[in-house]
């Protein structure tokens, strides 16, 4: 993390400060090529969140390329979308400076952030400029509902994901004749993991589960052997892990190595690598049957199939960061189309009134309430022989859930 800190606030040369949208509100002159609409893409492109940030960038860029190829924003005379990349690194202070830089460059809106602490800082600063901000992931619930009228989150927040994750778990368990009773929670001890653990400890007993052990660990955790052995001794029916990608992979490999095999399943909520395509593909044996409740697309829609084919052609990893950023950019473009303006207030109003439904995500039409898209919901996935399949809700499913998992053969 050192490397991410000391260059803090790497930023482009100054433009006229407070330039805002000086050139953008100008009326279009007939016949002249319309000025491109600049969109700020703020992501952690370096440092330990670089994977997520770069995936997010790919998703947004893919949508921009498609929109531009289809003729740009028609109500603005076919204006093209021009991405302006900004690296938030891993520091909220850098994110704030980068928001200012993007505002100075005259972007019409900002999308991205990924991590909750970066998003909290960036949305607050964008509000100072009156710039609309589209959150891509940033699941912490405080992000929306703080009274920031510029902030919109397309995907579900922490509370919603957990609520659905638990409801789906209970449904799965009931349908299978309640094979799972005892639970071990393994969580990283940062904002995300400990928040999740606390919520799970409060909610699980009400759903008929008993939490027999809760094990927190730092990020990165160099070795999971002791944790695996503690889990094994607790011998739970269910393991619920909440940690980041690298640790998740190491944990899953160690579980396999130590023959930790819960009777019912490994069931993650926002699991670091539990629905990560490369992890599933590289470790089909160790990852088999792992379940996740996370952001994911509806694989059955024609739009999704075209999207997945493009992602595969570019040799990118098909992950939720990519899916969400791709989708968010389409919502933003639709709002620009309806606003027929890049004026911040008009664009903000258009986003707030969005009822967009042409999305790869398994959401209904967009509806923002206090900045949160209340149509957003997570789905359940399960890794099966190296492939991430959607198993729940059944309307979007690409495979039937295997729960409880078969006994070790």
């Amino acid at each position: 993390m050192m490397h991410a800190k000391q260059g803090s606030g790497v930023s482009r040369r100054r433009l006229l400060a407070g330039a805002g949208a000086a050139t953008l509100g100008a009326p279009l002159i007939a016949g002249a090529a319309p000025a491109p609409v600049k969109i700020g893409l703020l992501q952690p492109l370096t440092g330990f969140l670089a994977y997520d940030g770069i995936q997010g960038k790919y998703g947004a860029m893919l949508a921009i390329d498609e929109i531009n190829a289809a003729g740009g924003i028609k109500s603005l005379g076919g204006a093209k979308l021009a991405p302006v990349l900004a690296d938030a690194q891993t520091s909220p202070a850098t994110a704030i400076a980068e928001v200012d830089r993007l505002a100075g460059e005259g972007v019409a809106a900002i999308q991205g952030g990924f991590a909750s602490d970066l998003v909290l800082a960036a949305t607050q600063q964008a509000a100072r400029h009156g710039l609309p901000y589209m959150v891509d992931v940033g699941v912490v619930d405080q992000i929306v509902g703080r009274g920031l009228t510029n902030t919109f989150r397309f995907g579900p927040g922490f509370g919603k994901v957990t609520q659905d994750g638990l409801a789906n778990l209970a449904a799965l368990n009931n349908a299978a004749g309640k094979p799972a009773k005892t639970v071990v929670i393994v969580h990283e001890n940062g904002a995300f993991g400990s928040g999740m653990a606390k919520l799970l400890q409060a909610k699980l007993p009400g759903l008929g589960f008993e939490v027999v052990a809760t094990i927190g660990h730092p990020t990165p955790q160099r070795d999971f052997t002791n944790i695996a052995l503690q889990v094994k001794q607790a011998n739970p029916d269910l393991i619920i892990p909440s940690n980041y990608k690298n640790d998740y992979i190491l944990m899953a490999l160690t579980f396999a190595q130590q023959h930790v095999r819960p009777k019912a399943a490994i069931y993650s909520i926002l699991g670091g690598a539990a629905s990560n395509a490369p992890f599933a593909a590289q470790h089909p044996k160790e990852s088999n049957y792992i379940m996740d409740c996370n952001h994911y697309y509806d694989p059955n829609k024609p739009l999704s199939k075209a999207f997945a084919a493009k992602v595969a052609a570019k040799k990118w990893d098909l992950t939720y960061e990519l899916m969400l950023n791709y989708s968010v950019m389409r919502v933003l473009a639709d709002a620009l189309e309806r606003a027929a303006s890049t004026d911040a207030a008009k664009l903000t109003a258009a986003i707030a009134a969005s009822t967009y439904s042409d999305t790869i995500m398994p959401y209904g039409p967009t509806k923002f309430v206090h900045g949160q898209n209340i149509g957003a919901a997570p789905v359940n996935t399960q890794i099966r022989d190296g492939v991430v399949e959607v198993i729940f809700p059944t309307a979007f499913a690409s495979a039937k859930p295997v729960f409880p998992i078969p006994a070790a053969g």
Partner: protein, 289 residues
């Protein structure tokens, strides 16, 4: 707490400790001879992890075979770094050397990100998933190999330093570099050789670590602080000290993880470290200053 869990925590702690010792061996050599804190150590470890991973994924070379190839390669890299970058730019000032190694780590980390991308990579060799059933736990074979290698490597480095002419020259430079210069030892060359040996040790550690770990551009940072702790606790420049301190720290971490939870386990490490230093300022094996 069951005996089985205690026993397995001990074995697991020793196995981890051996890895810490391995990573720290190169650092303690550089620390002891050049008297510099090498901030680039974690980055060099990461670079070696990538090198080993590439040899495996492109050519199918097992990391244990790659060790033989990468150790000389990283010796050359380390030699060049010290001779032509760290030495000239640091100009013998502690603070400057510190910043130069920091600069080197920034360069390596970010180039790695740009070249290799941000994804997490693992090697998938049969040996990596092999285990030995100890009854209370399954001991991963890579960890056993790393343990034996830590013993061999620290012994080998000790012999190199204490039983060869090169070792005598290195020790002379470590103790009195001015006097060493007067008797005709090329100090800059010896410094570079030392840095090279230290870097080769890091490469060896990386090859032994990779089968039971992963590599990503930030992978080195998982080990860098704990390696510094091992070096100071073991006494700067002492190989047996680093080995012992590595094992001690591995076991302390393991048991404090068991009793207070893995979240608080780092406190066990740093508290033990601070206590050792406050009451035995030259480390467990350090020479009396």
């Amino acid at each position: 707490m069951s005996t089985a869990l205690l026993l397995s925590a001990l074995v697991g702690g020793l196995a981890n400790g051996a890895v810490y010792a391995l990573v720290a061996l190169g650092l303690t050599l550089i620390y002891g001879v050049l008297h510099i804190i090498n901030f680039a150590h974690g980055s060099l470890l990461m670079l070696a992890l990538y090198a080993s991973w590439i040899l495996w994924s492109a050519l199918g070379v097992s990391p244990y075979v790659a060790l033989v190839l990468l150790a000389p390669l990283f010796f050359a890299l380390g030699y060049a770094l010290q001779r032509w970058v760290i030495g000239p730019a640091g100009q013998g000032r502690d603070a400057n050397v510190l910043l130069v190694t920091l600069g080197v780590s920034i360069v390596i980390d970010n180039l790695a990100l740009a070249v290799f991308g941000p994804a997490t990579r693992t090697v998938d060799i049969p040996l990596a998933t092999s285990t030995i059933d100890l009854g209370v736990m399954y001991l991963p074979l890579p960890r056993l190999i790393a343990f034996v290698a830590a013993l061999l490597l620290s012994g080998g480095l000790w012999l190199l330093l204490n039983r060869t002419d090169l070792g005598r020259a290195i020790r002379a430079v470590a103790r009195e570099s001015d006097a060493a210069r007067l008797v005709g030892i090329r100090v800059a060359h010896i410094h570079a050789v030392t840095f090279g040996i230290g870097t080769a040790s890091v490469a060896a550690a990386a090859c032994l670590l990779l089968p039971s770990f992963y590599v990503s551009p930030d992978a080195g940072y998982a080990f860098v602080l704990v390696a510094f702790t091992v070096v100071v606790m073991g006494g700067m420049g002492s190989f047996p000290g680093a080995l012992l301190a590595g094992l001690v720290i591995g076991v302390i971490e393991s048991f404090s993880g068991l009793w207070f939870g893995p979240s608080l386990a780092p406190i066990g490490i740093y508290a033990a470290f601070a206590l050792v230093l406050l009451f035995r300022p030259t480390g467990l094996f350090g020479a009396r200053a």
